[in-house]
């Protein structure tokens, strides 16, 4: 392994600009003559718009214009769409309600935009926005998914606020498995609604060039090409070849920046209308009322076992809250990203799941780090843990008894797991967590008046969602391949243009590690280019832990082609047969001789083209690849959480965290560990601290960082993070993906630990001190073994 090659903990290239304040985020980009957009938003959860009077606002200082939903409609700007078709059990298509970028007739959640003020400065825009008078007829609202079906109907086309009633698996066979079971464990689970809260608020800057009739959009996007495609093909702002989307440095995404949002559409539309560049930057409260939220499931789940603890079947019934409108990929999250993972790491012969997706008067819900897989893991890992406790079995033993041990393994819920060693990660995690001495630690805690608990989460996820044909058959509106272009310059330096997009993942470093190792050239001679539709031809962006498994695989394929072409050039240079040329460590050699040419010389010769005829071989050295994997990847592992609960206050403190994950090949262990840390923090946030709260009228109670509890440094411990390794057979590098694992694994580990400590299963998320204390009042804490 070289110091900068695959497997090395190379320090990141991108850090220099970030630690010196030289990053270029969307709000840092300034265009000449830039105006600011300030949105007028609904203060009501549901209301009819009777009229909008902007006459006073238009006269305010600095105001360039006030635009409303009626004008958007008359300009025939299309609605935002959801790009994944789900069909109900009865075969009917999902009920996708119209979602205009500015509401014209009704508003359906607090924060729904009804008008926009374009002004010289943001302050002037805010002053004027306060003067826009909107006459609302307030209507009754519903926010609780469990009550959505009996609540007031939000959209005309969706009776009972039902988007779809979907199912997966064999109901009858599962029913029979339950009938034959010796033990059934039942749980009611609420998977709490979360606000993603990337620290960089969303932003958009749109500029119209009247001379060329081109629009440019800088925005905080995880997938600029998909944004351009949707904004062109469905919303109809501009044809695709006349719209450039640039996602420069992006300050965290976690899913929330995948989606196409009203604000970027409005900025583009307004820029052309007022003939000025138009910028919008969200304030944090706007983020809370517009960024797609995550999770929000209400589930009843059951698991059936025989006397020996062998799992016979699992069934779940879930109501998924999708909010007021269907966001870009919302429909796929509680279906194909959720129910397909209900087999966990276990050999479960029969699984059946029903999911009802509903509208409510809340912010739209879509993918948030893990997206469906944290919800599935929580169901499976809580069921298994509680079943073990009820049956008097050791939770680790019950897991081992049911682990899938041979691969490939076809689950009853679509997925074909291709590689893994679940016992290896459990065993290693138990050693690192020193599970053997837990009883001693529990007694020690008891001496200090604390209750100690331990909780496992042996999770699985499906990442690198592909191949395109498979996801298409499940309803995806797009393919989920990735593209790469490797441009070798005449001096032998290399640019890689990738369709992946980094917003914290460090692609400029890890992708360069791959190229440097493969071509045998210095790490510093490689640049990674991403996030600009004028530079990169097409790409699907970054989400679902896909950039390593899919994005880097595309680079590998392009590098294969570069090597093949370079060998032809080298053969001419070295006057040898192409088949005799070997390439190793940056050198082309004629096999069995000492005749060789360095990579840089071959690159130069490819461009000067003096050693071969252009009819025989095309000059230049640049290759492109579109890579479609053969399967999903299946990262898996074991997280063990140990907590101490204060008997008197109910406060749960995490005192030890062990993560052992199998991500397949690791390119940069430093970056992988960092991804795991961040994921765990978000999972612990969900379990202990975070929760979006609406009151009965649909007002968002948790609308700022003063109300919504973000994990802070003192809420978290340091983490013990290790890996095990089985290669993924579905891509050339054997990568499985690491971006979401922590967020998927963590909530179940935390709740399993707290419930172990206090001896009650009735602990909701977030398990605040109040919630745990309340549960403690009805519980009998378990004694140390």
């Amino acid at each position: 392994m070289s110091a900068t090659g695959i497997g090395a903990a190379v320090r990141r290239k991108e850090d220099i600009r970030f630690i010196t304040g030289k990053g270029q985020y969307t709000d840092d980009v300034v265009r000449p003559g830039e105006a600011r957009a300030v949105f007028v938003r609904s203060p009501h959860a549901r209301a009819r718009i009777k009229g909008i009077d902007a006459s006073e606002a238009r006269k305010m200082p600095g105001v360039i214009g006030v635009l409303t939903g009626a004008e958007l409609a008359s300009d025939k700007i299309g609605n935002l769409i959801c790009g994944w078709m789900i069909h109900s059990k009865d075969g009917s298509p999902m009920k996708m309600a119209p979602h205009p970028a500015l509401a014209a007739a009704t508003v359906n959640h607090v924060g729904d935009a009804v008008a926009v003020v374009i002004a010289e400065t943001q302050a002037q825009g805010r002053d004027a926005a306060e003067k826009v008078k909107v006459d609302y007829e307030v209507l009754p609202a519903v926010t609780d998914p469990a009550k959505a079906k009996s609540g007031p109907q939000i959209h005309e086309l969706a009776p009972k606020n039902t988007i779809y009633e979907w199912s997966l698996g064999d109901a009858k066979a599962t029913e029979a498995a339950f009938a034959s079971a010796q033990h059934v464990t039942k749980l009611d689970i609420v998977n709490n609604r979360l606000a993603p809260n990337a620290i960089e608020p969303r932003a958009a800057l749109a500029e119209y060039d009247a001379g060329t009739d081109h629009l440019t959009l800088w925005n905080t996007s995880q997938n600029p090409h998909v944004a351009r495609l949707v904004i062109s093909a469905f919303i109809g702002i501009a044809p695709e070849h006349k719209l450039r989307v640039i996602a420069p440095d992006v300050g965290g995404g976690f899913g929330s920046k995948i989606f196409i949002y009203p604000e970027e559409v409005v900025c583009l539309w307004a820029a052309r209308k007022v003939q000025r560049p138009v910028k919008w930057v969200a304030e944090r409260t706007e983020s809370f009322v517009t960024d797609a939220h995550g999770r929000d499931h209400v589930t009843h789940a059951e698991i059936a076992l025989d006397l020996n603890g062998k799992i016979l079947g699992l069934r779940a019934r879930t109501v998924a809250n999708l909010g007021a409108y269907m966001s870009t990929f919302s429909s796929s999250v509680p279906t194909y990203l959720y129910a397909t993972l209900l087999s966990g790491q276990y050999d479960i012969p029969h699984i059946y799941c029903e999911v009802d997706a509903v509208y409510t008067n809340t912010v739209p819900v879509d993918a948030y780090r893990g997206a469906g897989r944290p919800e599935a893991t929580f169901v499976v890992e809580r069921l298994v843990e509680v079943a073990a406790r009820e049956m008097g079995l050791d939770p680790a033993d019950l897991r081992k008894r049911n682990f899938i041990k041979s691969f490939p393994h076809q689950t009853p819920v679509i997925m074909a797991y291709d590689a893994g060693d679940y016992n290896a990660s459990l065993k290693k995690a138990m050693e690192i967590a020193d599970v053997k001495s837990f009883g001693k630690r529990k007694r020690e805690s008891a001496r200090h008046g604390k209750l100690r608990g331990i909780g496992y989460s042996t999770y699985i996820e499906a990442c690198g969602i592909a191949p395109s044909q498979a996801v298409g058959s499940l309803g995806a509106g797009v393919g989920l391949w990735e593209s790469a272009e490797v441009r070798v310059n005449p001096t032998g330096t290399v640019e890689v243009l990738t369709g992946s997009h980094a917003h914290g993942q460090g692609h400029e470093t890890t992708f360069a590690q791959l190229v440097s190792e493969r071509l045998g050239i210095p790490f510093d001679n490689v640049s990674i280019v991403h996030g600009d539709t004028d530079k990169v031809q097409f790409g699907m962006g970054t989400y679902g832990s896909r950039s390593g498994a899919v994005g880097m695989s595309a680079i590998v394929k392009a590098l294969d082609k570069v090597e093949a072409k370079a060998k032809k050039v080298a053969a001419h240079m070295l006057e040898a047969a192409e088949g005799d040329i070997e390439f190793k460590d940056g050198k082309f050699t004629v096999a069995g001789t000492d005749k060789s040419a360095a990579f840089g010389d071959v690159a130069l010769n490819a461009y000067i083209a003096h050693k071969f005829s252009g009819q025989e071989l095309e000059p230049g050295l640049k290759e492109t690849s579109f890579y479609d994997p053969t399967n999903f990847t299946f990262p898996a592992g074991c997280h063990i959480c140990e907590v101490e609960v204060d008997r008197d206050t109910g406060k749960a403190e995490i005192v030890n965290w062990t993560a052992v994950d199998d991500f397949g090949t690791v390119i940069n262990p430093m970056i992988v560990e960092g991804q795991v840390h961040g994921g765990i923090a978000q999972g612990v946030g969900q379990a202990l601290l975070e929760g979006v709260v609406y009151d009965k009228d649909g007002q968002l109670v948790s609308g700022s960082f003063m109300d919504y509890t973000m994990p802070r440094a003192h809420d978290l411990p340091s983490f013990n993070v290790e890996t095990t390794m089985t290669r993924s057979p579905s891509n050339p590098l054997g990568i499985k993906g690491c971006g979401e694992a922590g967020a998927i694994a963590a909530p179940a580990a935390v709740i399993n630990a707290i419930t172990d400590a206090i001896g009650s299963e009735q602990v909701p998320m977030p398990a605040t001190a109040n919630a745990v204390w309340s549960a403690l009042q009805k519980a009998t804490p378990r004694q140390a073994a």
Binding site: R17, T20, G23, D27, H677, G678, M706
Partner: protein, 156 residues
């Protein structure tokens, strides 16, 4: 509009501002020092931390006019003019104390203030408690804590 004058990263600067103009707006918009970020508008996230007369302050809730005559240091003012990084900047890179980079300038400026208050030998508990005013959504703080401890030592 009133004029405000201050020293930013060692350079005297002045500009016309509204009474309501925030220090962070003056830095970002008037001076184009965009390394200081806004993440929450309510003094909660700390992405906007700069030093005012050597003490950490949240520039999103400081008026520009309050800083008349003050010495301001932003993230852009930490490295030496030749480009040599400050030991705390080096430590963040060495220990992978950043991912998306958005909270990073505020984290580094807050870290320096933790060192000012507590010295160069910082334990994990102190760092975690004193980072209360800074949010990071990417790192889970693990590597930020390591970076601050190492950076503090390197500054001794």
């Amino acid at each position: 509009m009133p004029t405000v004058s201050m020293t930013v990263n060692g350079k005297p600067v002045s500009g016309e501002v509204e009474a309501r103009t925030l220090l962070v707006q003056f830095l970002r918009e008037n001076l184009r020092l965009t390394g200081t970020h806004v993440g929450c508008d309510t003094s909660q996230c700390g992405a906007c931390v700069v030093h005012v007369d050597g003490i950490a302050a949240k520039s999103c809730t400081t008026l520009a006019l309050q800083c008349e005559g003050a010495k301001i240091t932003t993230i852009e003012g930490l490295a030496e003019p030749g480009g040599k990084l400050h030991p705390m900047q080096e430590a963040f890179r060495e220990h992978h104390g950043l991912q998306c980079g958005y909270c990073t300038p505020g984290m580094i400026m807050a870290a320096l203030d933790i060192v000012r208050r507590n010295g160069n030998d910082l334990d994990e508990h102190t760092i975690r408690e004193q980072l209360d005013g800074n949010l990071c959504r990417c790192t889970g703080y693990h590597n930020i804590v390591k970076a601050i401890a190492a950076g503090a030592k390197a500054m001794a």
